[in-house]
């Protein structure tokens, strides 16, 4: 290829070409809106979060806890059997210390997103963020506890848990 084709096609533009409008382009700034229905599994999951509780579902065939709570087991392809309340404590499975936000913008105070294995679930994790902890102190295997929004401010969303903080076990 390198021998047969001398010059590959494609015309690179620089950031300057765009910023200084040296080339033509068309912009669009649409504003759309969606309202997604939570469905059966997530519906109850969020209703319980509003009450300050974490709930999952159990499939008695594969004996797994499904979290976030779900309506059917994708392994066994059958309905789940029961709702199970779980603890609002858990163990850090893995984490990051993020210095960029979702738009790739730099942020001064890092966020600490983590996968947290929820107590009572048999090791199933959810993603959330840690706080009230020095990033340098965070370790895989660290025990954490949920910090909830005040009851009147909860709206039935994953953000009803503000963050997770280190758990001082007695």
């Amino acid at each position: 290829m390198s021998e047969k084709i001398k010059e590959l096609p494609g015309t690179p533009l620089s950031e300057k070409d765009i910023i200084e409008k040296k080339v033509l382009f068309t912009e669009w700034h649409p504003e759309f809106m969606w309202a997604w229905d939570t469905g059966i599994g997530y519906g109850r999951y969020f209703a319980e979060l509003k009450k300050g509780r974490i709930i999952g579902t159990r499939c008695n065939k594969c004996r797994r806890v499904l979290l976030p709570a779900r309506y059917f087991c994708e392994w066994c392809f059958r309905p789940v059997d029961e709702w199970v309340y779980l603890e609002d404590t858990g163990t850090v499975n893995t984490f990051s210390i993020a210095y960029t936000d979702w738009l790739a913008r730099r942020i001064k105070e890092p966020r600490i997103p983590a996968l947290i294995e929820i107590d009572g679930s048999g090791g199933v994790g959810i993603m959330h963020v840690l706080d009230e902890v020095d990033p340098k102190e965070v370790k895989i295997g660290m025990r954490v506890k949920a910090v909830w929004e005040p009851e009147e401010e909860r709206e039935g969303a994953i953000t009803d848990i503000k963050y997770w903080k280190p758990l001082k076990e007695v």
């Binding site: 021998e3 084709i5 010059e7 590959l8 976030p68 893995t94 960029t100 993603m127 963020v129 969303a157």
Partner: protein
């Protein structure tokens, strides 16, 4: 299993770049035209077209496969778009195979395109639509979170260091210096990687591949047609793909089981029993440096946690016993998502034909494996080529 033998007989690609003046359609045409010219065929000789292009969110073009169709040569032909996120590039290579192997078509043009740069101010923002809209995106995640979790878990499971992983970036960016399409070829050191800006620890700027625009195309032919077109057909000996659950907390990220399943499917078909010995060249997907190692383990090229040792011992260098990413990979050539997966298949094609120029792996390699990964980080697609 009653399938016909299928060969790759032509390949072409554009440069990879941060932002291309060309539209996605034009890039697709450029790559497709070179691929057809390379084997002296015209569109009239093509029976069907398979197109790969990843998230619609980059372009905000609804039914992007249809929009790109003209550029891929799909005019009045049987046409399908394959799409499994980052796994797309090798998935469409698999998909094109069964179009021909099944006997339905004698030839197939497979084109993979990505134009990430349309998304402003940065394509990263558009990945927010990849997350679960109920339980994940309200937390304001960046995809880097995910890669950081996986890299951290991988390091933790095996006691691997950032320093060991950084060597992948050094190797691939250097390999890319010999690739005429490369966007980020460079001679850097392990220290450069370790000292680069922390984006989402443990992921640093030089651990990450760039966002890119570009396109790649291949021409497939059934055995009886391939023999009339070329003396150097490269045979597709195995294909495999697999999807794991979307629930990230339900898998242990230290190992990509779904890549292993995809690899086993492809190796079984190719009659490969010991991939670590039988594969001469590998192009595992390397959007991040740790991913080359992680994916190589999923591809069974070594045991779990052993990839850093092969790297340190020079085994995976272009001149080593089993080169990984001799192309320069996503880290060096660029990560035009779907196009990068197919670029890896094109690299095997050129390498196995002895046409890779300055990148040519010594010792007449006979068997190669390429792999892509992505979607919600739970997709593996694999192809095995041989001569």
């Amino acid at each position: 299993m009653g399938m016909r033998k299928v060969a790759i007989v032509g390949a072409g690609m554009t440069k990879f770049m941060r932002r291309a003046h060309e539209t996605g359609k034009e890039l697709s045409w450029q790559a497709a035209k070179i691929a057809l010219d390379s084997c002296e065929l015209t569109l009239d000789d093509i029976g069907c077209v398979v197109m790969g292009t990843a998230p619609d969110a980059f372009d905000n073009i609804h039914m992007k496969g249809d929009y790109l169709g003209d550029g891929a040569g799909a005019w009045r032909k049987p046409y399908i778009r394959g799409f499994v996120g980052g796994g797309t590039g090798v998935f469409v290579a698999d998909q094109a195979w069964y179009h021909v192997a099944s006997g339905l078509f004698d030839t197939c043009l497979v084109v993979a395109e990505e134009k990430m740069s349309s998304a402003m101010p940065h394509p990263q923002g558009n990945f927010i639509t990849c997350w679960d809209m109920f339980t994940e995106s309200p937390l304001g995640p960046s995809l880097l979170w995910f890669f950081a979790w996986e890299m951290n878990r991988y390091m933790h499971a095996h006691g691997i260091t950032e320093r060991e992983i950084a060597m992948v970036s050094v190797k691939n960016k250097k390999n890319a210096m010999d690739h005429p399409a490369a966007q980020l070829p460079a001679e850097i050191t392990v220290e450069d990687v370790l000292n680069s800006e922390v984006m989402a620890w443990p992921v640093k700027r030089l651990d990450v591949s760039p966002t890119s625009d570009g396109a790649v195309a291949l021409v497939y032919a059934a055995e009886h047609v391939a023999k009339r077109i070329t003396d150097k057909p490269v045979w597709i000996e195995g294909v495999g793909w697999c999807l794991d659950t979307i629930y990230v907390g339900q898998r242990d990220l230290y190992y990509p089981k779904y890549v292993e399943y995809a690899a086993r499917q492809a190796y079984d078909m190719a009659g490969i029993k010991e991939p670590s010995k039988e594969i001469d060249i590998a192009e595992p997907y390397d959007p991040f440096d740790y991913k080359e190692l992680h994916n190589a383990e999923g591809l069974l090229l070594c045991g779990k946690g052993e990839a850093p040792k092969l790297l340190a011992d020079g085994v995976t260098q272009r001149t080593g016993r089993q080169p990984w990413c001799p192309s320069g990979g996503a880290l060096g050539v660029g990560n035009a998502i779907a196009a990068t997966g197919l670029m890896k298949v094109a690299e095997l094609f050129w390498q196995l034909r002895g046409e890779a120029g300055k990148r040519q792996v010594p010792g007449r390699p006979k068997k190669g494996v390429a792999q892509a990964w992505g979607d919600e980080m739970q997709v593996g697609s694999v192809i095995v080529l041989g001569v």
